[in-house]
């Protein structure tokens, strides 16, 4: 847990007004899960306040799905404790399941049932009153009312994703867990999807959404970054960036021979004091922990290429954090 930046308050958003009690709908500490000898999630702490959208980021296999599954009661943690919606994570898994909506990474609806039948099934399982109206409402909202008799398996990726979301919010859950919901969905559908998520959050639903996309992270109120099973950063985007201690320079221009700044990535990354250098179009992004050292590192090219100080991007921060974590894990296992 050494990688977690200290924060003012657990949700990472603005501090609560005085007298306001922070309503933590997810509040878990030390969550750990091992499969075989491998620790997939390692002592993860996570608190999310009601109505917040928390982006859950991390590389593939970092333990995002496992953490989500532990929160919604699909997996029992090997260590750790906490509450979800005020209910004990271990003892009240069934009660938690009734108030949480979980959208799996893989399309998990019945492909041999129609759209309406799928929704109807979930309405029945949750014992929703006014079932037919609820399903009809959901179909209208989805814009699928005219296609309600179509088999779910025949839908395109974007529509499947919308249907899956509709199915897991049908029972008005207080928490919505989304596991890489927009993977393989076109930008238009993604935009609409996020508008919908914000609408739900405005209505008081708490959303924990895992994603790979940086632009999606920026749509969240706050983010949590997990790599190799460990929580490395937590807070608002500004907090995570400033907490990383990373400084950045942006270089633009051309060398005398006409080579663009972007071609210098490898040469500059090899210099001391540089954590990474990455081309962005024709520009070059150089990051390191110390601004003075950065200026020194780019000095040989500074006469032809203009380097100005910049804010490191979220991607810079994550890659930096991930490299650090990798090193740690090697040390731990040695």
């Amino acid at each position: 847990m050494s990688g977690v930046r200290p924060l003012h308050h657990p949700s990472g958003g603005p501090p609560p007004r005085s007298g306001e009690v922070l309503d933590l709908v997810i509040d878990v500490r030390g969550l750990t899960k091992r499969f075989g000898g491998r620790t997939v999630v390692d002592a993860v702490n996570l608190s999310v306040a009601r109505g917040r959208i928390c982006g859950f980021l991390g590389p593939n296999g970092s333990g995002k799905t496992t953490t989500l599954r532990m929160i919604c009661g699909l997996l029992i943690p090997d260590a750790g404790e906490g509450t979800v919606l005020g209910q004990d994570l271990r003892a009240k898994r069934s009660a938690i399941k009734a108030r949480v909506g979980y959208m799996t990474q893989k399309f998990g609806l019945f492909s041999d049932l129609t759209i309406a039948e799928n929704l109807e099934f979930f309405a029945r399982v949750h014992g929703l009153p006014r079932r037919h109206e609820r399903v009809a409402e959901a179909l209208d909202k989805l814009g699928l009312a005219t296609r309600s008799d179509q088999l779910a398996g025949k839908l395109s990726g974007g529509w499947k994703q919308r249907l899956a979301l509709a199915a897991c919010v049908l029972h008005d859950p207080e928490i919505l867990l989304l596991d890489e919901p927009t993977a393989g969905v076109d930008p238009q559908a993604r935009r609409e999807f996020w508008d919908q998520i914000h609408g739900l959050a405005a209505g008081g639903m708490t959303v924990l959404v895992s994603t790979h996309y940086m632009d999606e992270a920026e749509r969240c109120h706050e983010i949590a970054y997990i790599a190799y099973g460990r929580m490395l950063a937590r807070g608002s985007i500004a907090e995570v960036i400033s907490g990383s201690g990373l400084k950045a320079l942006q270089g633009e221009g051309h060398l005398p021979d006409g080579t663009g700044a972007d071609r210098l990535a490898a040469a500059i990354e090899a210099r001391p004091g540089v954590a990474m250098a990455a081309p962005f179009g024709t520009a070059l992004h150089v990051c390191g922990p110390d601004m003075a050292a950065l200026h020194e590192a780019v000095a040989p090219w500074a006469d032809t290429i203009t380097f100005r100080e910049a804010v490191p991007s979220l991607e810079d921060v994550f890659i930096h954090l991930m490299r650090g974590a990798e090193d740690n894990s090697v040390v731990v296992h040695a």
């Binding site: 799996t104 029945r124 399982v125 949750h126 014992g127």
Partner: protein, 377 residues
Amino acid sequence: MSATPLQRIGAMVFKEVRQMLRDRGTVGMMLVMPLMQLMIFGYAINNDPRGLPMAIERGDNSVFARSIDAALRNTTYFKVTELVETPGAGDRLLQDGKVQFVVTIPPDFGRDLVRGRRPQLLVTADATDPAATGPALSAIGDAVSTALGHDLIGPLGAPAAGPSPVELVLHRSYNPEGITSHNVVPGLLAIVLSMTMVMLTALSVTREVEQGTMENLLATPLRPFEVMVGKIVPYLGIGIVQLTVILLAARFLFDVPFAGPLPLLLGSTLLFMVTSLGLGFTLSTLAQSQLQAMQMSFFYILPSVLLSGFAFPYRGMPVWAQTLAEVLPTTHFIRLVRGVMLKGWGLLDALPEMGVLAGMLVLLGSLAVRRYQDTVA
């Protein structure tokens, strides 16, 4: 707002029935399969086993009676397992299925024979499985005349010279005409139900896992037990349809007699169906994929066909195979169906076999619930 277990089970049942009806191929197969098998097995199977268990009820201890005893023991057709003296004890053994034949040597058999009175020798056969009795019956006649041919010499030679000195009275119990289909059709009920119940359940659960829908089911408030019941109920419905088809065919196509009480038959069939469903569910918790579930089902169904006494007489098998057969629910159910339909078993006769099935059900049920968790991985 939150659903009762019954509502949740109802939701599962509803979903399962819908998915089932959507899959027309499977529905068709389930209805056509029993008919096809009826036609194939009902008319095709026949065979000639040996080493059948026999009881000799000896009311007479003359040299002739002992010769017949020895001769019967000498043929490969029989294995004399019981020697009883009290009248009626043999019938009981037959009814319980402990022996296939009872040869009754009446009191004063030797005296009457010497006096040339052509005493009767009663052979009672359990003809529920005619394959097991037909050829064996003629072997009894041969054995008797051989035995007496050696004994009736010298002054006693006279009776031997004429027609047979003994009157062989044959009584085919339970299936007097020795019609093979009377035996095969009830057995088919067991086989068809095994195949449908075990395989379909095993596939249905594994399919949910494979298609990723199980994770969604488990994320809802559905409990494992509710998922199980929800999956089992529709298949029970299918089983009842198959039962009806086979019973109607048995009655109207094959004229199988129906000696025992119908409620007992229905009760034991229900018990067997639930046991098979439990087995299918247990297999599904072991299988990683639908293909594996299919293979496991075959692994169970093949011995069920071959060892249970359906395809070949149970008696004809070596002891190890009989032991193996005892582990299969199908073996016990086949005895129940044949017992109730052909032998007219009452509840008391059926209890031992039903007890075995119930024991298996408890074992499989608890295993399935233990293995089927409400968590993933």
